[in-house]
């Protein structure tokens, strides 16, 4: 409190000194805090201090009777626990302390708004804000980090604006209620988020302060959607290689340095102009996008969460806006001021000036000059002990204050009155209310759905627009989950009409990316694959109407690239359309990686089959210490010489350049064999190209089928959705139940009704035992007979009815319609069936009855309660 007082004094002094500048000062202050407005009216003078005190003490933290965020009638308070409806003595005490604190505060800082200390809860009971925080660690690993936690809160709750945008709310509900109705204002949001963050170990605080219009209304239309922002390319720091001792000197540069300088200057000028133009353009755009000035700027109450550095490896302090779940630096200009902040242990008032938003605030809660605490003795107030001694000695209510502080010291925050915060797995998965949420960003719209809500697995869609009004669609991105075809993301570019599908690993064709403009074959398309999942190591296949290019990796034959050019399709009129008519191949280019097992001059780097010209070109790899590579060209003409003999091979059919001429390659035999080999290879390559074409067709067909079916996979661990496992589980349960019933039946006690007739607890005499046994047996016999009679009676009844019916049929046989006849016949068969069953049951009963009787007799003999019986025979 001393600190507070000191502060006030300082302010007063400053006022006296700067009376002349007051007008301007006030004008400035007006911008930041509503309190300062009132300051003009209340002239603070030493003489009138007492007067003022009286006046101010009347000022209560009046609870405005305005409508809370969601009307109270909707909340069923009857089922809430006692802690919600009453205050414990400790809480009462705390409230008193808080009131006292508030009174002193308003006395010492009359120009500031009353404190937000104990709003009413849903049962109209005042509760201190710190006790409303219920630190909880959620059982979901996804909610362990602050970013996912904040995202969850922002998704899970629907935002309701404050009833009065200039005042903190009168009511603040428990997090359990908020979670139940999935609605809340900024205070509810930040309370819930803060509870979860403290629960998972963060040093988090709820903040009561002032925010910008956008922040308070959760208006993201001026924000750039985080999904559209491309991650900044991390510029790789080029390691400056130290010049080694023997690094060669670069050749002497013979260019004129003056000319170079001139050139550089000229270019710089051009660049500067360009930049200037760009900047102007940008400024113009910014101007257009800027929001209209807000009349209530700086007065809008908002609540958010502050996370201090230190715990959970948080490197520096930051704010989280609970509405959006985004984090902001403490310097962000959306946050215009802080009144107070609290966690589950204490409550602090900001004593720093917020003329420059929150940019100059220092979040050292242990510093009592900057932060006035309410309760002493928490971990953040170590600093106060030293400062306490030398300040505020000559104050009037010193004694009173000291007493209070002693009292405070011994007091710590009572336990939270809020029930444990629980989120059911269903609710957690559904996330947004009704599983759907739409966020409007600047030039973008983001829609989110819960998994399995859409039958095609769509979970979110981002639409990007060209203009601010969101009418002209630029591109659409759709994210999918749990698709059987492993589709993950669909990207549609509306300007180029290019569609790109991204797949997760596991597609039957090992697809990774498929970008296309139309699903028709032989059009522009690029298909990328997970090459490790494919036998042929294909990475990418690009197609244009006339070419096909394939990229490979990790093949045993070291093929890296194959490019095929097609000629125009030859019209075949006679053939039916069912037969495929592949396009003729004009040229195939294949490139190979270096095969380390072969010497470079025998390792082919590139071979070109010019199918139409009947030529084959080979280019070999370049040897390590060479700069030229061997080449060879084969002409595949087969000619007949003047004698009519077929020319097999002539030297001019193979033109070769060898870096290091070798002997054996000059031989015609070698060349002939090489050419034969290449001919075979050409055939194979052509075949490969055709196969690739077929595969593309197959992929397209498969994709179409998958798009039409869009089945979703269900994890075997998903007990709720997995129908198969559910059925199985239920069947198991049923079996268990039946088993249980059977057991109960076998344990049926025959003797119980007879024993009940006798006085309990007494040992049976022999006579009694015999009588009991006989009674039991005769009763059982009677029951067996009754049962037999019952079956017999039913059997007879059924037979009689059948006979009657037959009689009726024989009488009316002539007049019957076919339908009646059918009816009769079906009845007959059913009746016969019933009769047969009854007959069987009767027979079975007759067979089993004596056995059952004997079994019972045996059982009775062995029954320990009838031990007397055995004694006779023993």
């Amino acid at each position: 409190m001393e600190v507070l007082r000191e502060k006030v004094e300082e302010e007063e002094e400053a006022e006296r000194e700067e009376a002349a500048e007051r007008a301007e000062w006030v004008r400035m202050e007006k911008m930041m805090r509503p309190v300062e407005v009132r300051k003009e009216e209340t002239t603070l003078k030493q003489e009138t201090l007492r007067d003022l005190e009286k006046k101010l003490s009347e000022i209560q933290i009046t609870v405005s009777a305005e409508l809370p965020a969601f009307t109270k009638d909707t909340i069923d308070i009857s089922k809430l626990p006692v802690s919600y409806k009453t205050n414990t003595p400790k809480e009462e005490h705390l409230l008193q302390v808080a009131d006292n604190f508030s009174r002193q505060y308003s006395h010492l800082c009359p120009d500031r708004v009353p404190l937000f200390l104990h709003p009413l809860n849903e049962c109209e009971v005042p509760k201190f804000v710190s006790t409303t925080l219920r630190p909880t660690l959620m059982p979901y690993p996804e909610l362990y980090n602050w970013d996912s936690c904040a995202q969850f809160v922002s998704d899970f709750l629907t935002m309701v604006p404050l009833p009065d945008p200039l005042k903190p709310p009168s009511h603040m509900y428990s997090s359990t209620t908020v979670l139940k109705y999935q609605k809340g204002n900024c205070f509810d949001f930040s309370t819930l988020l803060c509870s979860m963050l403290i629960g998972s170990g963060y040093d988090a605080y709820c903040v009561n302060g002032y925010g910008s219009l956008d922040l308070c209304h959760m208006d993201l239309t001026r924000e750039v959607c985080p999904l559209t922002v491309k991650p900044k390319e991390t510029i790789k720091e080029e390691e400056k290689v130290l010049p080694k001792k023997y690094t060669i000197k670069p050749p002497r540069d013979l260019c004129s340095r003056f000319e170079q300088e001139q050139e550089v200057k000229k270019q710089q000028e051009i660049r500067a102009q360009e930049q200037k133009r760009l900047r102007e353009e940008e400024e113009r755009l910014m101007e257009a996008e800027k929001a209209k000035p807000d009349a209530l700027h700086g007065l809008r109450v908002h609540s958010w969460v502050l996370v201090l550095s230190g715990k959970r490896e948080v490197p520096e302090n930051f704010f989280i806006d609970p509405f959006t779940g985004h984090s902001y630096s403490t310097q962000d200009e959306h946050f215009l001021g802080i009144e107070s902040l609290w966690n589950h242990k204490n409550y602090w008032i900001n004593m720093q000036d917020c003329w420059n938003c929150c940019k100059d605030l220092i979040f050292d809660l242990g510093d009592p000059v900057r932060w006035e605490y309410m309760l002493l003795g928490t971990d953040k107030s170590q600093l106060s002990l030293t400062e306490e001694d030398d300040s505020g000695i000559n104050d009037e209510d010193d004694v009173e204050n000291l007493g209070k502080e002693d009292e405070d010291k011994s007091f710590d925050m009572p336990h939270s009155w809020v029930e444990q915060i629980e989120i059911s797995p269903e609710a957690f998965e559904t996330r947004c209310p009704n599983g759907k949420k739409v966020i409007q960003y600047k030039r973008a719209k983001l829609e989110k759905w819960a998994p399995y809500l859409n039958s095609n697995g769509l979970v979110s869609r981002l639409t990007t627009y060209k203009d601010l009004e969101c009418t002209n669609i630029l591109e659409i991105k759709e994210w999918y989950q749990n698709r059987e075809d492993m589709l993950e993301l669909k990207h549609m570019n509306k300007t180029t009409d290019l569609k790109t599908d991204y797949f997760k690993p596991g597609h039957p064709q090992a697809l990774r990316v498929h970008s296309y403009k139309s699903m028709q074959p032989e059009m522009d398309r690029v298909i990328e694959f997970y090459e490790t999942a494919r036998v042929d190591g294909l990475i990418k296949r690009e197609e244009t109407p006339r070419t096909m290019t394939e990229y490979y990796q990790g093949r045993p034959d070291f093929l890296s690239y194959r490019h095929a050019n097609f000629g125009p399709r030859v019209k075949k009129l006679t053939l039916s359309s069912a037969e495929s008519n592949p396009r003729p191949i004009v040229k195939i280019t294949e490139q190979f990686f270096r095969n380390p097992a072969k010497p470079a001059e025998e390792d082919v780097a590139e071979r070109v089959f010019l199918v139409a010209e009947e030529r084959i070109q080979l280019r070999y790899h370049c040897r390590e210490d060479h700069i030229t590579a061997s080449k060879r060209e084969f002409l595949r003409r087969t000619e007949v010489d003047n004698k009519g003999n077929k020319i097999i091979m002539t030297p001019d059919m193979c033109i070769s350049f060898e870096v290091e001429p070798m002997e054996h390659t000059k031989k015609l035999l070698y060349q002939y064999e090489a050419m034969m080999h290449l001919k075979r290879e050409e055939k194979l390559s052509r075949h490969q190209v055709w196969e690739s074409e077929l595969e593309v067709l197959e992929i397209l067909k498969l994709r179409e089928e998958e798009e039409a079916a869009h089945t979703l996979t269900i994890s075997i661990y998903d007990t709720k959705r997995n129908e198969k496992s559910k059925e199985y589980r239920e069947a198991m349960e049923r079996v268990m139940h039946e088993e249980h019933l059977r057991q109960v039946e076998t344990q049926l006690d025959y003797l119980a009704p007879f024993l009940a007739q006798l006085p309990p607890g007494e040992k049976l005499t022999r006579w009694q035992a015999v009588r009991l046994k006989d009674e039991c047996l005769s009763d059982f016999k009677q029951r067996l007979i009754n049962k037999a009679n019952l079956i017999q009676a039913r059997f007879e009844k059924e037979t009689q009815e059948l006979q009657k019916k037959q009689q009726w049929y024989q009488e009316n046989q002539v007049t019957l319609t076919p339908e009646d006849e059918d009816l009769y016949l079906s009845y007959c068969s059913q009746a016969m069936f019933r009769i047969r069953i009854l007959e069987q049951r009767l027979n079975r009963h007759k067979e089993l009855a004596p056995l059952k009787y004997l079994a019972l007799e045996e059982k009775l003999y062995k029954d320990p309660r009838l031990g007397e019986l055995q004694k006779i025979f023993a």
């Binding site: 690094t247 060669i248 000197k249 700069i627 015609l668 064999e673």
Partner: protein
């Protein structure tokens, strides 16, 4: 083959026979025609079959350098010979001959499959160098000692063995013995060895095998140790300070010094000798350590140098490659343009342009090469200077250390002389308490004798020290000159090769262009 098989007249392996065989077994059909047209060189033949030819003596095969497979089965060969040059041989079939001993296979280190089936061999021997051997067929021979099997243990790759039809295969333990001693064997006598048999065999012969293994392991360990020692010594030798990490030099000083040894029996000399040795050894160890350190330094110096040179050459090559690639692109397009052009003057103009391009490329490449040569020369000179300095410093320091040794020796000599003279005086006076060995006492006749003896010992010691020093200095100097020479020579060779390569390429390009020209004119 329409000769009678049972006409047992031996035939000679002459050129005609080989040519015929090569021709028969060479390429067929179209390729065969070509082959006939051109003729086949023996050194291009990879596989040769010479069976059922009544060959008595292997001969004339030296030309088949690259032969991989040779079949000489079903002849009457009595001695393995004339196969020394066929070092690439992988498969050799000598079955159904009359061979009595295994010999002449030492150079065929690549041999994997060797068949000596149905011969008269009685001992498995002389196969030590065939480490790659996988299949060995020795059936129907006269092997009668089981110990031959143990010889086969050294072939780690051996998987298939046939020994049936030998006297040893009669033994009841034959199969078990082989399975136990050749554990890696998979097929024996054309049958797969099942796991059960293997286990049984192992259990049966466990003790003897364990013993054998133990012995083999010991041998192996000893070999490895020797190897390690050799390597260590080699390392020291490259640092030119071998045998200086102990008392080796000191011991060698006294090894040939009979007087010195005799004198050490003098009273007080043994202590003197002890301290002298300690000090001497310390200096030697100093030299040794310094030498190793210097060697390390020289090595890093050389490494940096070669790395830098390599980088420079690579960089230069990359530039060259880029230039060639750019040129080829342009050249190809202009060539096809020339082909399509029909106007003769235009063609000539374009051809001129093309050849201008080619010469431009030549200039550019040569320029690059010249530049590299200059750069490298500078670097090499710098390196040379540095390494020579380094060696000089090393020699200087070692010499100063060795001078310390010499000082020690002189000091020792002085002390020894004093003691000797005092002892002599005592002997002359006759008041020597201790008795000396007779041969030592013989030295103490007069002053000259004893001084001479001590001096001789001293001279020997100094000589040893000088020799060691000289050896070190000459060796390091020769190493240095050789290194520098090699670097220069390598660089010259590289330059020659590159210039040749460039010229060749340019010539090829030019001739291609000329051919085009001729063709066009002919058309």
């Amino acid at each position: 083959m329409n000769r009678l098989y049972n006409s047992m007249e031996p035939r000679v392996m002459d050129d005609d026979m080989l040519k015929l065989a090569v021709g028969d077994q060479g390429p067929q059909e179209e390729a065969g025609q070509l082959a006939k047209q051109e003729g086949i060189l023996f050194k291009d033949v990879l596989s040769l079959q010479l069976d059922f030819r009544n060959i008595l003596r292997i001969d004339n095969l030296w030309q088949f350098e690259n032969l991989r497979k040779l079949q000489l089965n079903n002849n009457i060969i009595e001695k393995i010979e004339g196969l020394e040059n066929l070092t690439h041989l992988v498969w050799l079939d000598l079955s159904f001959n009359n061979i009595e001993t295994i010999e002449g296979l030492d150079t065929l280190v690549n041999l994997e499959d060797l068949s000596l089936f149905n011969n008269r061999i009685s001992k498995i021997d002389s196969l030590d160098t065939l480490v790659k051997l996988q299949v060995l067929s020795l059936g129907n021979n006269r092997i009668d000692n089981m110990m031959n099997i143990i010889y086969l243990r050294r072939f780690k790759c051996l998987r298939t063995l046939s020994l049936s039809g030998n006297p040893i295969s009669e033994a009841e333990d034959y199969k078990m013995f082989i399975c136990a001693y050749l554990a890696d064997l998979v097929y024996l006598d054309f049958r797969r060895i099942d796991d059960h048999t293997k286990e049984l065999a192992e259990a049966k012969h466990q003790y003897s095998i364990d013993e054998l293994k133990h012995r083999e392991n010991l041998m192996q360990a000893r070999l490895e140790e020797e190897q390690a020692q050799r390597e260590e010594l080699e390392k020291h030798k490259t640092a030119f300070v071998e045998h200086l990490n102990g008392s080796f030099l000191f011991d060698s000083m006294y090894a040939e010094d009979s007087e010195g040894n005799k004198l050490s029996y003098l009273p007080g000399v043994s202590e003197l000798l002890e301290t002298y040795k300690d000090k001497f050894v310390i200096i030697c160890v100093n030299i040794f350590e310094y030498g190793l350190k210097q060697q390390e330094k020289r090595k890093t110096e050389l490494d940096t140098f070669s790395e830098c040179v390599h980088e420079a050459i690579q960089e230069n090559q990359e530039q060259g490659k880029r230039k060639i690639a750019r040129f080829e692109e342009k050249h190809l397009s202009s060539l096809s343009a020339i082909r399509e052009e029909s106007e003769l003057p235009n063609i000539e103009k374009m051809i001129l342009e093309c050849s201008a391009d080619i010469s431009e490329l030549f200039d550019a490449l040569m320029m690059l090469e010249m530049q590299l040569v200059e750069q490298l020369e500078e670097t090499i000179n710098m390196f040379e200077r540095n390494i020579v300095d380094m060696v000089g410093l090393f020699i200087e320091n070692v010499q100063s250390l060795i001078a310390q040794c010499r000082d020690l020796e002189n000091h020792h000599h002085k002390k020894l002389l004093e003691i000797s003279i005092s002892t002599l005086e005592k002997i002359v006076k006759g008041d020597l308490d201790e008795d000396l060995p007779d041969d030592l006492r013989a030295l103490f006749v007069d002053k000259d004798t004893i001084v001479n003896a001590v001096g001789a010992s001293h001279d020997i010691h100094l000589l040893k020290i000088d020799n060691r020093e000289d050896e070190l200095v000459t060796r390091i100097n020769s190493w240095c000159t050789r290194l520098v020479d090699k670097i220069h020579k390598d660089e010259i060779m590289r330059n020659r090769r590159r210039v040749k390569e460039i010229n060749q390429y340019i010539d090829h390009m030019q001739s291609e262009l000329d051919n085009l020209e001729c063709g066009d004119i002919l058309d």
